[in-house]
Amino acid sequence: MLGALDQGLISALVALGVFLTFRILNFADLTVDGSFSAGTAMAAILLFNGTSPVAATLIGALAGAAAGCVTGFLHTKAHIDPLLSSILVMLAMYSVNTRIMWLGKDGVQRATVPLLGKHTVFTWLAENYGRDSWVTVGVIAAGVLVMVVFVNWFLGTNFGLAVMATGDNPAMASSLGISTDFAKIVTLGVSNGLVGLSGAVWAQYVGTAAIGDGTGWILIGLASVILGNALLGTRYVALMTLGVVVGSVLYRVAIYFALKWNFLSNTDMKFITAALVVIALVLSASKHVRTLGSWLSPWRRKPDAPEPMAVAPNQFSPFATADAATQPGPVVAPEKGVAR
């Protein structure tokens, strides 16, 4: 169970990255699988070669960021569609990551880099508190919290606002003097940097890096974002980012309990993931869960802060009454069953 919490928190960094691209930038970025492996491969080989854990982790994150920037360049400069440019990078990263794993100082071409006995960021924790402990959970949680704060800070800066505008209304953004190309490249870099960081920490957590490690992380990230936003809502960026972490942890805990049933095996993970995404999507569209969301975070229920779902579609009939136009109230769909 503690292990599920650890894993959920580490993968929350992937979810934060996915949140930045899919939710903020409105960019369907599938680089994730490639940048996650870049993180695991880079960190693992550096640790294998004796680099300090902190440096190896940071360089792993940078490797992910570089992959994200390449996707950004392909999209903005070569004008390749977001989905395709990120798939291309994901594909290419498979080869790149294989090469990275060959960089061991003994010259052996490995498909798996074992970190057994190597000094990692978890060594001190494991020696003092054991493999599974609340202290480890707490330390990872603190690290993830720092990243949540970082993402919130980033989006609150002048540049962050420009990024949000780029994702929300790119035509307006460039008409206001924002280089949407630059905003996209940087955000893809930051997003995949977070994913690479997750990969780097993950490799040290599981104690090994294998070439197929990255497969499926985009879906895990998306599942966490969808689940988290369905539970905590999308009214404030801070709640969205926290929700993403909550979603990621819940996802792992759900998997943990699913695997406890004897008839499910590890190979059923992918099916469970897909099923969880479907459930999260269905739940996020249902009235029921929205009340659960407000129950979980009652402070976001201000009377003048309507659900984003209620954001009116552009309703400007040329002869809309003056009243409707000046009414400051939220536009809310009428309750079912209420006589009109």
């Binding site: 606002l161 949000m164 505008a165 929300d168 953004a173 400007f316 009939s317 040329p318 400051p328």
Partner: protein, 269 residues
């Protein structure tokens, strides 16, 4: 560098053809020339498809042109990307949803617009000083928006969004303000209000402006010059004296005459 004699905007031989060389070829702009002195406010009228929006897009840089030059304050910006020109050019679009960011709050939208011509730094996007500034600016719109600054813009009515767009376009005092039928999507009452605000900000900030409209009355009431377009050409231009004396009936006559002349010419050619 800009002296009183340097035009704020100078268009020379501007041409734009869509789908050139195909059966769908559309010559949206044909050798257009237009010069605006600082402080000029030109209204543009013309039939659908005359090329008015294309003209504004070419000036702003959201469409590349095929031939000709665009000079702003004497500087050739023909090859400059849209986001770089935006330092001196601000726009309000016809669609109220086009000029604002629906998922950002009013104050966030204003902050993004306030950064026009500034570096997008890693400093706070919203400071107490900025909020105070925005609150007073919003109050001038008389829409009560100053008390709803943290609301998402997607919740505003079309008229409120256009008023906000106008503020976002004008409060940094751009060299050139481009308005493309920015009251067309509004009910008559809102349209009047946004029009009044338009006249007010242009006068207050001494802006140089181009305003496209299908409303002849608005075209005559606002601005000091008037330009009539048809099939990619400027077919009539009224100087301040001519415009001051013109009526809607005059405009309709002029339009009919100019069109007839043009059609004769194309028949002869």
């Amino acid at each position: 560098m800009t002296s009183a004699s340097t035009p704020a905007l100078d268009l020379e031989h501007v041409s734009k053809t869509f789908y050139a060389g195909t059966p769908n070829e559309r010559r949206a702009l044909r050798d257009v020339a237009l010069t605006l002195r600082p402080g000029d406010f030109v209204t543009i009228i013309g039939s659908n498809g005359a090329g008015k929006s294309t003209l504004l897009n070419v000036i702003a840089g959201s469409l590349p042109l095929d031939a000709g030059t665009v000079l702003i304050d004497g500087r050739d910006v023909t090859r400059l990307a849209e986001f770089k020109r935006a330092v001196s050019i601000a726009r309000v679009f016809q669609d109220p949803a086009a000029g604002t960011s629906p998922h950002l709050s009013i104050e966030q939208n204003l902050s993004v617009a306030w950064n026009r011509g500034r570096r997008h730094t890693l400093g706070r996007g919203l400071t107490a000083a900025r909020r105070a500034r925005f609150r007073t600016e919003l109050a001038t719109l008389e829409q009560g928006l100053e008390s709803r600054m943290s609301h998402r813009v997607g919740l505003l009515s079309g008229g409120q969004r256009q008023a906000l767009s106008l503020l976002m376009a004008s409060f940094t005092k751009p060299r050139l303000l481009l308005l493309d039928e920015h009251t067309a999507a509004l009910d008559p009452e809102r349209a009047e209000l946004v029009l009044r605000l338009t006249a007010q900000v242009i006068a207050d900030h001494h802006l140089t402006a181009l305003m496209v409209t299908h409303n002849m009355d608005h075209a005559l009431r606002l601005g000091n010059r008037l330009v009539m377009m048809h099939e990619g050409r400027i077919i009539r231009a009224l100087n301040p004296d001519e415009k001051a004396g013109a009526t809607v009936a005059d405009l309709l006559d002029m339009f009919g005459d100019a069109r007839a002349q043009l059609d004769d010419r194309t028949l002869l050619a």
